[in-house]
Amino acid sequence: MNKIKNLADLRALKERLQTTTKLRDKSEYSESLIQIKVAMATCCIASGSRETMNFIVDELDKRNIEAVVTQTGCMGYCYAEPTVEVSMPGKEPIVFGYVDVKKADEIIEKYIKGGMLVEGIIPVNYRKIDEQ
């Protein structure tokens, strides 16, 4: 380890280390961020959801988009795996089906960055218990 000789050294080090704890900071105010849930049940994983999740996390980071990506259990749309739910702040969550790496790229570019809907949306066809 090189010694920290001046303030610039410390700042550079902090810059490099920031990602190690950034996730913990973000989780504190996650409701004001874009939240992405990747379904991660057995069948989803078999269909490649872990690759999708890794891709989304890394790409969002590269493209400087602040978001929280979590995994969740089976969403029930097993025919359309991998499935991903995107909640933009202040908007209704939208579920996308068949999200492979290519589709994920399209969702990030068009929906998250541009606000345009892309193909593959699974419409809401159920009611939650607290709505009844």
């Binding site: 000789k5 001046n6 950034k22 890394d58 990506v69």
Partner: protein
């Protein structure tokens, strides 16, 4: 460096560690490895989360899932279900005792809602044994700023304007103390961190040192620069092994990075820290006694002035601050005094850490903005009294503080209001009592502690407190008289006025404040010879109700001293002169014939 998608934060404070959190950490790591997810999820041992009641705690980031009372055997399920498949392990989630609803996100818990974590900002978030995590969260930026951009005078001005006051209990303005040390002539000065936390039920300083040791190191270096001291000393009690271990590790890491040692941040400033171990004497928390103990002498206080800021360790100017005070300093420098002074009340700024203990649902470590009410702390953050019992009193400030009651629940917690109500801020111990606690016994307990811990140097404390203690024993044994109450008050006043140090001066506080607030309980013990909480054994009388007794002889056979007489199928009798009040007869009786008064 791999970027982890999921962080599992496992509490590694002393409380959770004693409930096997370390084994749990290892199990989680093994399970994650078995699943081939070592690049995906990371397990981090952190400092105290504060929610000690339900430890060990595991928090999953980024979805903020808060698992409580996690056992090593639960590791497999957490990894297989949550980390692999994204399904929460429902049975380990926190259940709100009031609404019976499951709360998975820690931010939704009453315990955390009203807290503002400044001194505890990194506790439960970073790995205290990894300096990189501290730096990643802006660590050492304050030291860098102070050394390269500010003069000592400017830095002291920031602390002064922030309104930070000593968190060890007395509440002396921190900036002013720093200024006095700076102005004291001498080319050799010292910075001392007082980590001699001795109140029963208090663990604020320990948790900070265990959870975020670098914040204290950084603040001590800042203090060294401001006051002109080149040496820092931490006086810590030997019964805090984990805090000592983490502090040592942190000091080594800081040295390796050049953040302690020669020419820090390329300036001419040099500073290093060494540890001094205390043997756990309560009086050594008093700064002059602490200094004598560090010098190798007896831990006895001396009269102030001269204050340590003028003449302290080895006769040199010494700045003594408490752990929590230091932990608040770096963030005040980086975020500015305006930010800090916006929190709190007119005269007491910022936040205070409290250790909740006793008959409260959520026992643990909390940090709240000064000015919050006792009601909010006990009934919202603390979750109310255990088992639905009735609240009776709260002892604030440990054995030096006072006992407050129901009518004080809306008193704002700040230095002045607490003093006016007859208690004090103290270092932050808060012991909550319910209807089953006998207040005379509580007073006796605290006085017992101070009598034990008195160093014996001055007469009022050594002998006066002993006499008060004897009076309390007399009362709890049913031999008290009305004059004894007056004697207690007179004696207490004299001890308060004439003792040498704060230990003696404050020792009568619990007795006097309980006498103020619970006079009826004292009188009940004296006049009616009764203890309605059923704590004072000597005042209890066991009796047999004639209607319920069937004469089975079970109680007579259970009695170890042969105090029960009576033939088979006849009503039994207890001889009060022989009875030792062990309760064996009551446990044995199947007909509820034995009662206690």
């Amino acid at each position: 460096m791999a970027d982890y998608k999921i962080h599992l934060l496992v509490c590694g404070g002393t409380g959770c560690k004693s409930s096997q959190s370390q084994i749990l950490t290892e199990h989680l790591r093994t399970e994650i490895k078995n699943q081939g997810l070592d690049d995906f999820a990371q397990v981090i041992g952190t400092g105290c989360f504060g929610f000690c009641e339900k430890g060990p705690i595991v928090k999953i980031i980024p979805d903020n899932t808060f698992y409580t009372q996690v056992q090593p055997t639960d590791a497999k399920e957490i990894v297989e279900e949550h980390i692999v498949k994204g399904r929460q392990v429902k049975r380990l989630l926190y259940k709100d005792p009031k609404t019976e609803r499951i709360i998975s996100d820690s931010r939704g818990m009453d315990f955390y809602k009203k807290q503002v974590r400044i001194a505890l900002r990194n506790c439960g978030i970073i790995d205290p044994e990894n300096i990189n995590e501290y730096i990643a969260r802006d660590g050492y930026a304050a030291l860098g700023k102070v050394l390269t951009e500010l003069t000592p005078g400017q830095a002291i001005e920031i602390i002064k304007k922030s309104g930070l006051r000593g968190r060890g209990g007395a509440g002396f303005p921190t900036g002013l103390k720093w200024e006095i040390t700076r102005q004291s002539p001498g080319n050799e000065k010292y910075v001392v961190c007082n980590a001699d936390e001795g109140d029963p039920g208090a663990f604020m300083d320990r948790s900070i040192l265990e959870g975020d040791p670098h914040s204290v190191i950084e603040a001590m270096a800042i203090n060294g620069y401001c006051t002109g001291a080149g040496n820092g000393l931490v006086y810590i009690r030997a019964e805090y092994p984990l805090a000592i271990e983490r502090l040592k590790k942190a000091i080594e890491q800081a040295r390796e990075y050049g953040l302690l040692g020669q020419n820090i941040f390329g300036t001419t400033f040099c500073f290093d820290i060494t540890l001094r171990y205390g043997a756990g004497a309560f009086v050594c928390g008093e700064e002059t006694a602490l200094i004598h103990s560090m010098e190798g002498g007896r831990g006895e206080p001396t009269i102030k002035p001269p204050f340590p800021s003028v003449k302290g360790y080895l006769g040199k100017p010494t700045n003594v601050n408490n752990v929590e005070t230091f932990a608040s300093v770096p963030v005040i420098i980086t975020k500015g005094y305006e930010w800090y002074s916006n929190i709190g009340t007119e005269k007491s700024k910022g936040t205070k850490v409290f250790a909740l203990a006793g008959k409260v649902n959520n026992v643990g470590l909390i940090e709240v903005p000064i000015g919050i009410t006792l009601r909010e702390v006990i009934f919202e953050i603390g979750g109310g009294i255990k088992n639905g019992k009735k609240f009776k009193g709260v002892q604030i400030g440990g054995p030096s503080g006072g006992c407050l009651t129901e009518k004080h629940l809306d008193v704002p917690i700040d230095y002045e209001s607490l003093l006016a109500a007859g208690a004090m801020m103290g270092s932050g111990g808060m012991i909550i009592m319910d209807e089953d606690d006998c207040m005379v016994d509580v007073a006796k307990y605290f006085l017992d502690f101070t009598v034990d811990e008195s160093c014996g140097k001055c007469t009022p404390c050594r002998i006066g407190n002993k006499r008060m203690h004897e009076l309390l024993i007399k009362i709890t044994q049913g031999n008290g008289t009305k004059e004894d109450l007056e004697r207690l008050v007179n004696l207490g006043m004299v001890i308060r006025d004439t003792s040498l140090c704060m230990l003696g001066q404050s020792a009568p506080n619990p007795v006097l404040s309980i006498l103020d607030n619970f006079r009826d309980e004292y009188e009940e013990h004296i006049i009616n010879k009764k203890c309605s909480s059923g704590v004072c054994k000597a005042l209890m009388v066991y009796e047999i109700i004639a209607e319920n007794c069937v004469g089975c002889t079970a109680c007579a056979r259970a009695c170890p001293v042969g105090a029960i007489t009576g033939e088979r199928k006849e009503i039994h009798r207890i001889d009060p002169a022989l009875c030792i009040k062990c309760g064996a007869c009551m446990d044995r009786c199947k007909f509820n014939a034995v009662i206690v008064n």
